[in-house]
Every structure is written in C-alpha cells, then in structure tokens.
Symmetry: C2
Subunit: 349 residues, 2 copies
DNA sequence: CTGAAAGCGCTAACAG
DNA sequence: CTGTTAGCGCTTTCAG
C-alpha cells in the first residue's frame, strides 16, 4: 500500500493545480508559461485553457522552485555603501528601474561602511545565490572579494570603489583626475595656495586616489603640503566634523579644504560656523558629489558632480552584459564624467 | 536571441559532496548542520568528520533548496516609502541589525511613492516568498493589500502608514495627536493664530490624520482655517516648494506653517528665502520627524520628533512575534512616542 | 503537439 | 546512532 503525503491545505496554487484545472499535464503548463524559451509549438486551444486556468486561480510561479531547477534567480543584489549617503539614492533608483524593466527583482542591502555588514552581504549572496551583484564595498579586503568571486562565479560590478580583481567590472576612476582638477581649480581660478583635504581613514576606497589627485595637483603647482593639511577621517558627516575641528586647532589652518565627499564637507561647514567662522569668508569648502544636502546647507556647497543616475544605469547594463553572456573575459573599467559645480562655499583670494 | 544556459562546472560544494568526503550519508550531514532542530544524538566522531569536511570544502548550505523544502526562507522583506527620506534610514538600520542578530537576511526595496513600484514589491514577495514583510505603503489600495495578504499568508507590519487590515500590525498613529500637539503649541506657546499646513495630495497616508490633528487643534483654539491654509502637495522637497510658492501668492499668508514632513519643510524654507523672506522672521516653519537635513538647513528646523531607531526595532520585533507564532489573531496597533524639538525656525508672535 | 519522468539541493519521516 | 526515501514546485529531456 502506497502512502501519499498530503500537502498542507495552502491556498497558494501550484502549477499542478493549474494543470488539473486545464486538463493538461503540468509540463504543458510550464511550456505555455515559458513560451519564450520553449521551442515547442502548442495548440492555441490548450494554450487558452491554460491561460484561463492561470487567470482563474491567480497563479504565480514560485521563483524559489524555479531557481532551484534552473540555477538562475531573476534577481540581482545591490550593496550600497551607506544608505544615508544620497550619493547612492539615484543609483538605487536607476538599478531598480532598469532591472524592473527586464523583470528582474532587486535585493538592496546596506553596508553602512561596517565590515561585518559587508561580510554578511557576501555571505548572504553565497547562501542565497543571485544572478548578479552590484556593490560599493568600503571595508572588504581583496581577499574577501577574491574568495567570494571564486566561490560564487557571479558577475560583479563595483561602483565608486577601487576594486582590483581581474573579473570585476568597475565604474569609477573619477577620484584621481576629478580631485586633481578640483584642487587645480582652487589654485588657478580661486587663488588658494594653502589647501587641505579630508580623506578616508586607512586605505579604504576612495581615499587613496583622491589623495593622490590632491598631491599631484599641489606638486604640479609647486605648493607644499603642510603638516596637518591631510586629515584622514570617516567618510561621514561626523568625519567632516572631526577633520574641521582638527584644522581649526592648527595655528595656521588652510584657506580652502577639499572634502572627499559632500557629507563630510557639510559636517565641516557646520563645525566652522559653530566656532564663529564664516564660510567661505574665513575658510572655503569644496565637496565631492551633488547630493540634495549640498544645496540645503548655507552656503550652498561648491562641488565636483557626477551624473549619479547615469552611473546607476551603467552599472546594471554592464552587469546584464555579463549575465547575458554577451561579455566575458577580464574586468572592464569605466570612467564616469564629472564637472565642477560652483556654488557659494568657495571664495577667491 | 538565444539565451545561453551553460551551467558552469560549478565548484560550489553541495551537502552531498560534504557527505562523500566525510564518508557518511547526506542526511547525516543535514542533521549535524541543523543540530538545533534535530532531536537525534550523533557520535562526536562523525560530527567532527563532517565539520572538518564542511570546513575543508567551504561548504555553504543552499538556502534556495532549503526554502523549497521547508517553506521558510530565513528572510524578511522591507519596503520603504522613499529612499531619499532619511526618516527610513534609521528604521532600515534597526531592521537589519535585529534581523541579522537572528540570522535572517533582509531584502530592502524602495517604493519611492510610486504605485507601480509598490505593486511590483507585492508581486515580488508573492513570487518569491519571504517569512515576513515590513512596509510603508503610500500608494497601495486596501484591495491591493487585501489580495496580497489573502494570497500570501505572510505576517505584515506596516509602519508610519494608515493601513486598515484585520491581520496587519501597525506602528504609527502619531500623526493625529502629534500634529494636534504641534499646532496647539504654535498657538499657545508661540502666539500664532494664522497657521497653515502642507499635507499630502489625495488620501494617501499619512495625510488625512495629520490634517485632522490640525483641524482639531484649530477648532479647539477657536481659530478659523482660511482658504488656502491647507496645501495638499507631494510628500517631498518639491512638494514643499510648491506649497510655499502657493502661500506666498496669497494676499495674506499664514504666519506659521506646519509641514507634514521635514523634507517638505526644508523645500518650503528654501523657496521663502529665495523670495527674499526671512524664516522665521516673516514666516515660521515646523516639520515632522528629525532627519539630518533638519539641522543642515538654516534656520535649523523646529520639529516633531520620533525615535526612528526604536520604531525600526519595534517593527521587526512585532514581526518576529508573529513569525514565531507567539502572537496570532487580529492586527495590533502601536503608537510611537513623540516630542517637540525646538530649534530656530519658529518665532514667537 | 503533449505526457512521463528525472532531478535541482535540501529536510524530515521512517527504518533499521 | 545512521542510512534510505519521499518529496518541496519547477524545467527539461526523452518518448511518443
């Protein structure tokens, strides 16, 4: 005697329910529902019966079962660096839009510049595979990434971060040249000669390249980088506060400071103002990336701006190229455009 | 277009690989790895061999397969209203933290106040079940939610939104009383008598209750709501700009305006200042919710503040109560605390 | 044109 | 204490 295992009376219809209602086999239902991939012709009659049954039951394919079978998930994962950094918001939107138009779901995760979070993200993607990954790693080591890519074989696009891995496509690279241009602009157009930079503590991206751009610009202009000009702090509002506090304790602070991101620049401005200084009267501030806060703050922040939506769109498109198999081979590098947007936080000397 | 489907010789180890290496059966591996749920004792020897094999292969359980079998996913989905609204950032962090501590993964999605996005989210969760859902719906209709809950049977917590469904736990309800208190404060403590409110276009949450709180406070103080005092606009920076522009076109604008969220308040302040007005000298502004921008703007925004992290933590905890089966029955309602934080955007009359 | 059947990787009875 | 087995819901051969 054969004992049948009875399924819970869940009211979520399965393909089998559809098949029964339409009076066909379950595999025929599958064929109809995946018409695009199925090279088999099916009679209009059965097709219609099946579609009716789908409609009637409100059937939705179970993606988990499908994924197990196909080893593909129709899902991409995005890890942003810090949800509070508006830099990532247009990127997230663009990714959701483009992915959605291709019927891919998007799993967003927030790294928050915390190593454990970033690691947890990798682990999640390892245990719960997706078809592609876009990420802005800030704390992960090369070994972490190496191990991840070796294990997962999932296409990865890194944005706004210096990831050096032979298989990872990278969007970024603006840091060095854009910082160079910004510093040079402060020197040549605005007449500053004593310029500071607040960068990132440690060797975390995108600290080093922005620092290099600064150093190169200063050197090319024959200016010396005094002790204390380079402040390495966190990539956040608070980091900017600390850096500015440090500048203001110096006997002779710089006349202009370039912040590696605009949140830092705003934190810095607030501290300077709290100490009774005028920005840009007493000290000029310049930021990196155009976020809404840059025009909320007073004075409005002069910045290096990138087209964030474009970066987001490009990230998904690049990713899809690999997911579709249109591109194979070593990681590519895409440099985004930038321009200086002058507002009111920098004065001429 | 032919979709290529070459399944790589994936080197991702399966449980079977572990079993082979350890010289045991696959189910024994499963037992060891799920020790907590397994009531069966296992010899220390085999256990060690298995753990060694796991280590050696770097084995990670495949959650997709596990989910298919167990009908549980170890994942919760969060749909926030608008990724650019800092209101949601602490909530997201809290959710990620609490969920992470219980080894649940979190899928964040961004509704962006767009109906299609919100619908897409529901659809995603239907096709790709999760164990629980936290959401801040802004455009979904009651029928959308009804249909979703009926189909999915997934516990849902709604935050900061007026969802009326017998099975949905709701955190919120601050809108009416907090707005009442804020308006009353403007009247009694600050002496304003001609007060406007910028709320939400249509009947979208949390427009109506905030409007009701306003109306009740005005009525209780015996003040009349003049035509044009109530501006219904989008829940965004731009909405605030439009509302303020509308006020300033009036022959006799209000002396104080309460904005239904702080982003709107900031947009409004910027427009007023652009038109040469002084805030709060010419017009006082008050916002709802403490977001970083509220202290970036000048004057710093006087607001009604809630503890956003606490709301986030509470949301997950409530959700887990249902996921764990500790709570069943009709949807509960949780009212969060609030307080007025006075800064510089409101003056006494 | 359609059905039967073999799994995807895992868990959970059921049998030793 | 451990192995065998039956699926979870779906796609994809392989046979008609």
């Amino acid at each position: 005697m054969v004992r049948r295992k009875t399924r819970q009376p869940s009211n979520i219809p399965t393909m089998h329910d559809v098949a029964k209602l339409a009076g066909v086999s379950q595999s025929t239902v599958s064929r109809v529902l995946n018409e695009t991939t199925s090279p088999v012709p099916i009679s209009d009659d059965t097709k219609q019966r099946i579609l009716d049954a789908v409609e009637q039951l409100g059937y939705q394919p179970n993606m988990i079962a499908r994924s197990l079978r196909t080893q593909r998930t129709q899902m991409i994962a995005v890890m942003i660096g810090d949800i509070s950094n508006a830099f990532y918001h247009p990127i997230v939107r663009a990714v959701q839009d483009v992915a959605g138009s291709r019927d891919y779901d998007v799993l967003i995760s927030n790294g928050d510049h915390v190593y454990e979070n970033e690691l947890r993200f990798l682990q999640m993607v390892l245990r719960r595979p997706v078809d592609g990954v876009i990420m802005a790693p800030h704390r992960l080591t090369s070994e972490d990434l190496e191990r991840f890519i070796k294990r997962s074989h999932i296409p990865v696009v890194a944005v706004g971060a210096q990831v050096e891995h032979p298989m990872v496509d990278v969007i970024g690279g603006t840091s060095e040249p854009a910082t160079y241009e910004a510093i040079s602009w402060l020197i040549k157009e605005k007449g500053h000669r004593r310029i500071g930079i607040m960068g990132v503590a440690g060797d975390m991206p995108p600290g080093p390249p922005r620092l290099r751009g600064y150093e190169r610009a200063m050197a090319d202009a024959g200016l010396t980088i005094e002790e204390g000009f380079v402040q390495k702090v966190e990539f956040t509002w608070e980091g900017g506060e600390h850096a500015m506090a440090a500048y203001l304790q110096q006997p002779n602070p710089p006349t202009a400071v370039f912040a590696s991101n605009s949140l830092m620049a705003i934190g810095a401005i607030k501290v300077a103002q709290k100490q009774g200084l005028d920005v840009p009267g007493d000290i000029s501030m310049m930021g990196f990336d155009d976020i809404p806060e840059a025009t909320i703050v007073n004075p409005a922040l002069t910045i290096v701006a990138r087209d964030l939506s474009a970066i987001g769109r490009q990230a998904v498109e690049i990713l899809f190229e690999r997911m579709d198999g249109d591109v194979t081979g070593p990681g590519r590098f895409f440099q985004s455009e930038w321009r200086i947007v002058e507002r009111n936080s920098v004065r001429s000397i």
